[in-house]
């Protein structure tokens, strides 16, 4: 047999067997058509009834949002049961009458409710329409009596967000509210639906995807009154992930206590890893009130409050750093070699530069003064001189190294970047050259410079740990429902500022002197048994020193903002704190005692005892701490 013959034979057998395949295909598909005939024609009525005649009602089972804990496992945010009222339009017999009765029982506007019911899209009719969230017990009782007359009124128990500590850490935790159209559009693929709750601020917003969980469904066979007969099938909800914050509840409480009645912010950071121990913004808001929906009136009151309670001062408020900035001016000058630790200048209460007098806060002057005492007493004239020698660009470079001038990356939305100006910035933004007179103002933090409270705390933390710029963070751990860790918030070193040992020693000894030496500006921050070092600052509200333009304050008062940044240690640095009190006056008299309260609280919480054990593990931090 030739090859060609073989091929012919093969194809002949193939052609003989092919019809059997055709038969198989026909048989199988006939069987499928028969099956479809059975399902759609023979039993079509039955399935239609199941699907369409409201024999089956679909109920969404809301997933409880994740719980939020503080670093020790204390509950900061949880859920409580609440009643929600919905209308199942397919079970409702007389829509107008039902809407009227329900509106009356719940105290709702009848026309508004009727409009809401009418505007349901036809293909959504099988999903009940939410009528009221968080109804009271009285309202639910009133509805119960209507159930027989007006079928289709559903009352469900749902988890609702609850903040057991009220206003505590409100700007950190944030709040939830109903999703709006814009938010829904942006997340159309992520399982969000109309009527969902969504985080609107703070951790609730930033971690919404993790906290949210996944709603379940229940398919329930119901009778003509809309009462459930039997659950046909259900997909259980998956609770959201729980989040453990780095916040220490006890410290947070103290922070808010001391800020009560004031406008301002406090940020306390662990310098060894950047975790935020406390972050307070005052005045606070009550997230619980958002959870059951604010009225327009309440919202107006909040948003027009002259003290801006809705502003998250921790990351959103930008203030001139005032004398706090002298830390950076000094570092820039020392590192660039513009001055040494022994350089001294003479202060006569003011300094003539150009055709203007740049004043020191102390009218009579400090006399001949060195770097150490200039830090301790916060001499302005000394730093005018130092600023001129270092130059604005070098100062700005160092400030940016320390993380100023850009968002720190703290897990709270809407962070303001602050502002660290230099000559390039001035040319770009103001279309003007940098005037050296402006360097003088910038050197004492009264120029264009702006910092946020979290940036100020980051500065203190970086000085405290010797130059490691850790990204401030609030998330310690995210865990799923079963308790297994999804992710942890590890320490992230953004960069390390390389400092000469003598620079670091000089700055630290100066800051120690601020608190502990006679004539220091912050003796109010002393805590027995601990080395506290810090720097006061006054952010001028009525600007006069630098730019010569007198600005009339538009706020409540014309008093200056009081800054105090510090770190406290027992061997190894343990905490870095930034305090700002708006219109508080002088940083030493207002900010320092606040810091002392916090440090004392931390001490009683045992923070500084751990140090002994941890000092061996982390010897790299803070050599020669606190010796003047």
């Amino acid at each position: 047999m030739t090859l060609e013959d073989q091929g012919k034979l093969q194809q002949r057998i193939f052609a003989q067997r092919l019809p059997l395949f055709t038969v198989l295909v026909t048989l199988v598909f006939s069987l499928l058509v028969l099956r479809l005939y059975y399902l759609q024609i023979v039993r079509g009525q039955h399935f239609s009834r199941l699907a369409e005649e409201n024999r089956i009602s679909l109920i969404r089972v809301r997933a409880p949002r994740g719980i939020v804990f503080d670093r020790h496992g204390n509950v900061l945010v949880t859920n409580r049961p609440s009643f929600s009222v919905s209308l199942d339009l397919d079970a409702v017999r007389d829509v107008d009458a039902t809407v009227g009765a329900v509106a009356a029982a719940l105290g709702l506007d009848r026309a508004e409710l009727a409009h809401k019911v009418r505007s349901v899209e036809p293909y959504r009719r099988f999903e009940p329409v939410r009528v009221k969230e968080d109804a009271s017990r009285q309202e639910v009782a009133a509805l119960e009596s209507l159930r027989y007359e007006y079928p289709g009124v559903l009352v469900e128990v749902e988890p609702r967000r609850s903040y057991p500590h009220g206003t505590l850490a409100s700007h950190v935790l944030g709040y939830v509210g109903q999703i709006n159209v814009a938010e829904l559009k942006a997340r159309s693929d992520l399982g969000y639906r109309m009527g969902d709750s969504i985080g609107k601020l703070g951790i609730e917003k930033e971690l919404d995807a993790e906290l949210k969980g996944r709603d379940g469904f229940q398919q329930m066979e119901v009778d003509s009154l809309g009462r459930g007969i039997k659950v046909l099938s259900s997909i259980p909800p998956i609770p959201g992930h729980s989040v453990t914050l780095t916040i220490d509840l006890a410290l947070q409480q103290v922070a808010e206590e001391v800020l009560a009645g004031l406008s301002g912010a406090i940020v306390a950071i662990d310098p060894s890893d950047g975790s935020v121990l406390a972050a307070a913004s005052s005045p606070a808001i009550d997230p619980n009130s958002f959870s059951h929906g604010l009225s327009q009136q309440e919202w107006d009151l909040l948003s027009h409050d002259a003290r801006h309670p809705l502003q998250n001062r921790i990351v959103q408020a930008q203030y001139p750093p005032g004398s706090v900035f002298k830390i950076l001016t000094a570092i820039a000058a020392l590192e660039s070699g513009a001055i040494t630790t022994t350089t001294s200048y003479s202060c006569r209460g003011a300094m003539r530069y150009g055709n203007r007098d740049f004043r020191c806060w102390k009218k009579e002057g400090h006399g001949e003064i060195s770097l150490h005492r200039a830090l301790v007493e916060s001499c302005d004239v000394y730093f005018y001189q130092v600023g001129l020698k270092a130059g604005i660009d070098e100062i700005a470079r160092v400030a940016r190294e320390f993380g100023l001038g850009k968002a720190t990356g703290l897990e709270l939305g809407g962070e303001a970047p602050g502002l660290i100006p230099d000559s390039a910035w001035k040319r770009r933004v103001r279309k003007e050259p940098w005037y050296s007179g402006e360097t003088l103002s910038a050197a004492i933090g009264q120029g264009y410079d702006l910092v946020t409270p979290v940036q100020a705390a980051l500065l203190a933390a970086t000085v405290a740990n010797g130059g490691s710029v850790y990204r401030p963070h609030l998330i310690r751990r995210v865990a799923d429902n079963a308790g297994s860790t999804i992710r942890t918030g590890a320490a992230v070193a953004e960069r390390t500022v390389v400092l000469k040992p003598e620079t670091l020693a000089a700055i630290r000894s100066g800051l120690w002197g601020v608190v502990n030496e006679p004539g220091g500006t912050a003796s109010g921050a002393r805590v027995p048994g601990l080395a506290v070092a810090g720097k006061t600052g006054t952010a001028q509200v009525v600007r006069m020193a630098a730019r010569g333009e007198r600005q009339v304050a538009t706020g409540l008062e014309s008093k200056d903002h009081a800054w105090f940044v510090c770190y406290a240690a027992n061997g190894t640095a343990q905490v870095a704190i930034a305090v700002i009190v708006e219109h508080g006056g002088h940083g030493g008299s207002v900010g320092a005692p606040i810091a002392r309260r916090l440090i004392t609280e931390l001490k009683s919480l045992g923070y500084f005892q751990e140090t002994v054990a941890r000092a061996d593990a982390a010897p790299a931090t803070a050599p020669g701490q606190g010796s003047p």
């Binding site: 093969q10 395949f21 295909v25 759609q40 159309s188 997909i235």
Partner: protein
């Protein structure tokens, strides 16, 4: 490379059938994925993939299928490597390892492997230099070449793909001309082994089901009694049956599906797309889809019969077999006749790997048809 006769013989009928089915699928995918915002990213994705599929189809028609068969074993090698890679690094999706992540896209190697297997079988038998019917001594290499991937996908575990690999093997070997007595002996042997295993299980010595995943056993059991587990495995089946059944004679109309509109159907735009189509277009629409599929398969059989050579016949036949098995298993699954095994419906389901391989496969059938008069 492009002969004018190729253009003259271009298979417009096959292209028409393919695009009609794809259009029906796209309507279903739109219906299954549409939200408050109209066109969803998923739907746009689907359209893009159909575009890529069509391009692949046209590309495949350009290359002589002999050249493709020439590289059959290389394609097979890559296929096996990808299946192994899934076992090793693949990500777990839907309780079973089926996906392989290639940076931006995840692919399902098992989808591509089915075509590679068809290539190898077609190449092997067309290259056998002896008259059929073939006996055991002639076919053992192909038994090994099929057995290895079969075990691999069983291990993943991907029961659906295993069923399809077995189906390709049996049908293609039958039409290729393997002696019918071999089939009889194998069937007899299989029944005896099953009887022995069942006997051992009854005696409590050995449980053959322990090689299957719990969820697979459950799905098979639930098939016979959905009420066994209405909340779990039975959910898919009962929801899908309600959707299809409630479609009645003419369906609920475009976007009128209440089961799908409410997201009752699991994976409704992928494996359960047929339920969406059946709910919205009723018995008329469901049967129309089946009719189109039968036409497509018979047209492919026609191509196989008229092919220039045995290789072309086997290739067209093999692709038709893959298409047939997919359709039959998927529709059998959505109508509650087969266990839920996760097999997409060709041309209709959302899913990149499936769209691409189906279009490429149809391109091959058209390829064979276009070259039926070419010699040399």
């Amino acid at each position: 490379m492009i002969d004018r006769r190729l253009l003259r013989d271009f298979d417009w009928v096959m292209l028409g059938l393919t695009l009609t089915l794809a259009a029906a699928g796209a309507v279903g995918v739109y219906s299954a994925t549409h939200g408050a915002g109209g066109v969803t990213p998923l739907f746009a994705d689907h359209l893009r993939r159909l575009g890529v599929g069509l391009a692949a189809l046209l590309l495949v028609t350009l290359v002589d299928y002999h050249l493709i068969l020439h590289y059959a074993w290389i394609a097979y090698g890559f296929g096996i490597a990808a299946l192994l890679a899934v076992d090793i690094v693949g990500m777990v999706g839907m309780g079973a390892q089926r996906w392989l992540s290639l940076g931006v896209v995840s692919i399902q190697p098992s989808e591509f492997f089915k075509l590679a297997l068809v290539f190898v079988i077609a190449r092997y038998f067309s290259g056998l230099r002896k008259p059929s019917p073939f006996l055991w001594a002639d076919i053992w290499p192909i038994v090994v070449a099929t057995g290895v991937p079969f075990l691999l996908v069983m291990k993943q575990p991907d029961l659906g793909t295993a069923m399809i690999i077995a189906g390709i093997f049996v049908i293609m070997l039958f039409v290729a001309g393997v002696d019918v007595r071999l089939f009889a002996w194998t069937a007899g042997g299989g029944i005896s082994v099953a009887t022995v295993l069942f006997g051992l299980d009854l005696l409590g010595i050995f449980n053959p089901l322990r090689f299957m995943h719990d969820y697979q056993i459950k799905r098979i059991k639930v098939l016979f009694d959905p009420d066994l587990d209405p909340l779990g495995a039975g959910y898919h089946i009962s929801q899908s049956k309600i959707a299809i059944g409630s479609g009645g004679l003419t369906g609920k109309g475009f976007l009128g599906g209440t089961q799908s509109g409410l997201n009752f159907l699991p994976q409704q735009h992928t494996d359960f797309i047929y339920s969406v189509v059946s709910e919205e277009w009723g018995f008329v629409g469901s049967v129309a889809v089946i009719a189109l599929m039968v036409l497509l398969i018979l047209w492919a059989v026609q191509t196989a019969r008229g092919a220039r050579d045995f290789a072309g016949s086997l290739l067209a036949m093999g692709v038709a077999t893959v298409f047939f098995l997919h359709c039959a298993i998927n529709i059998g699954m959505t109508t509650g006749m087969l266990p839920v095994v996760g097999i997409p419906l060709p041309l209709l389901s959302y899913g990149g790997s499936s769209v691409l391989t189906t279009f490429a496969g149809i391109g091959l059938i058209m390829n064979v048809k276009m070259r039926r008069y070419l010699y040399g």
